[in-house]
């Protein structure tokens, strides 16, 4: 004797429970109403990876963000050499993202429209701190269909200090002194750990203070190094410099194109 769950009355309770759980799993995995079309959709990969890397460093009164400008298809084929991965959102907020470029565009659009609305409502620009929390929540709202992006937000915070916020794809937020995301993250971070965090040098080793000039030259070195050893990073460095009380400066510097 069995009912619709396939449980027979003679089974002991433990086996019954195990059987029930098994049935539940199967039904959940492919319920009756799942049509062929739905299963096809599941197999299609909605993400692609356009490669590239970004990094950011913050100091006492400045924040600099850099990225390469290469966009690749499957990490191999170069689609364009002037893709924009850094987006200047207002006078003190810079968004830089790597990952799936469709999501990057959507994310930028969401933030821009929210910033616009904020300006409309409060007649002031949003500060970097607020925008950082906003971005974190907007990333999390897509928890069940995440943005495939490694985002970073940099800028000058409410106190005139440089700030860098780093995120994971679903919006785990952390404020750091320096950060990187994208394909060359595992290469750039150890370099910055050594040069800015000074975690790999001896205690009595001379530790130069982080000036804006030093930060810029470190950033250039980091990307030149990454371009040497990482396939989807190259072409150009897009350097964006935000200094408290000054307008944001953007620069493009050449990198390896191979």
């Amino acid at each position: 004797m069995s009912n619709f769950t396939g449980i027979t009355a003679t089974m002991n309770p433990l086996a019954e429970m195990a059987q029930f759980k098994q049935n539940m799993r199967e039904v959940a995995a492919s319920p009756e109403w799942r049509t062929s079309k739905l299963i096809e959709r599941q197999r299609w990969n909605p993400y692609s990876m356009e490669g590239g890397s970004t990094a950011a460093i913050s100091g006492d009164n400045f924040a600099i963000v850099a990225s390469d400008t290469r966009m690749t298809q499957n990490d191999i084929n170069i689609l364009t050499r002037d893709a924009e991965k850094i987006h200047v959102l207002n006078d003190s907020i810079i968004l830089s993202t790597s990952g799936f470029y469709g999501d990057v565009i959507q994310l930028r659009k969401v933030l821009q429209s929210r910033l616009h609305k904020y300006r409309f409502d409060y007649r002031a620009d949003m500060s970097a701190d607020l925008c950082a929390e906003l971005l974190s929540r907007n990333l999390y709202y897509r928890r069940f269909f995440p943005y495939y992006t490694g985002a970073m937000l940099a800028g000058i915070d409410e106190n005139g200090k440089g700030a860098v916020f780093s995120y994971d794809p679903i919006g785990c937020i952390e404020r750091l002194g320096y950060s990187a995301s994208g394909a060359a993250e595992p290469m750039i971070i150890p370099f910055l750990d050594c040069q800015i965090g000074h975690v790999t040098v001896a205690e009595d080793y001379e530790k130069p203070p982080l000036t804006i000039e030093r930060a810029i030259s470190l950033m250039k070195d980091a990307f030149r190094g990454a371009a040497e050893r990482e396939i989807s990073t190259g072409d150009k460095i897009h350097l964006v410099i935000a200094e408290a009380g000054k307008p944001i400066v953007q620069k493009f510097l050449p990198l390896r194109e191979d």
């Binding site: 692609s48 689609l79 469709g102």
Partner: protein
């Protein structure tokens, strides 16, 4: 135990497809080249089909990928153009590019993509009717909603085959390229696809969007190419 769906083994593949699109900026506009065949797998199913769609005097949309999806897109674009017309506006290439990006991204998010790579070519009029300030525009959108702007592009198999070749030619002259030179580069590029892409066709058209002339759809042209190399290249006995 798990239910078997035999009919589901097919994938989300497009049926009737167009191949490469090659586009390039020149001094005052954009030239776009497509071949005139729609393939069914490797079969040249429909010949003499234009893959370029004139939106208005400033914009030309060209596609690679599923033909049915593109025909449906033509309707959507036309509706959008009419919407702008109601407010006495002509949609520009940037605006259309943005609109189509949102559309393709929204469809991706429903996991029901439009299987197209779109090339939106046109001339952006910064100020209405001021030809001096017009700038050439080429925007690409992939089926997943990934969009970018370029000065020259080759999609489909051309992305692997031609991008660098076109780029090298473009860099020689940069923005000073004339229309004739640009068209010559495109023809050379088509010859290359012809040799290596089995779904490319030697029947093609070159459309252009020029700041002064507006959209000019190309006439059907044919290229034969030089096949003499075949005798030495193939291992015929």
């Amino acid at each position: 135990m798990a239910p078997v769906h035999d009919e589901l083994q097919r994938t989300l593949n497009p049926t009737c497809t167009g191949a490469s699109v090659i586009a390039m900026q020149y001094k005052t506009g954009v030239v776009v080249m497509t071949d005139r065949v729609v393939s069914y797998g490797k079969m040249a199913r429909y010949k003499n089909v234009s893959r370029q769609y004139k939106v208005n005097d400033n914009v030309l949309v060209t596609f690679g990928g599923d033909h049915a999806d593109f025909q449906w897109l033509q309707n959507v674009i036309e509706r959008q153009v009419l919407l702008w017309k109601r407010f006495d506006q002509d949609i520009g290439p940037k605006a259309l590019h943005g609109y189509l990006t949102s559309l393709l991204y929204a469809r991706r998010c429903k996991m029901n993509p439009l299987w197209n790579t779109l090339v939106v070519a046109g001339v952006e009029e910064e100020e209405k009717n001021n030809k001096e300030t017009s700038t050439p525009f080429i925007g690409i959108i992939t089926q997943k909603g990934c969009a970018y702007q370029v000065k020259h592009v080759a999609t489909g198999l051309g992305a692997f085959l031609l991008n660098q070749a076109v780029e090298d030619e473009f860099r020689k002259k940069g923005d000073e390229l004339t229309r004739q030179e640009a068209e010559a580069v495109l023809k050379k590029a088509l010859e290359l696809t012809l040799y290596h892409d089995c779904v490319a066709d030697n029947d093609f058209e070159i459309g252009r969007v020029d700041a002064n002339e507006g959209v000019v759809l190309g006439k059907e042209q044919t290229i034969i190419g030089d096949w003499s190399i075949a005798e030495t290249n193939c291992q015929y006995e």
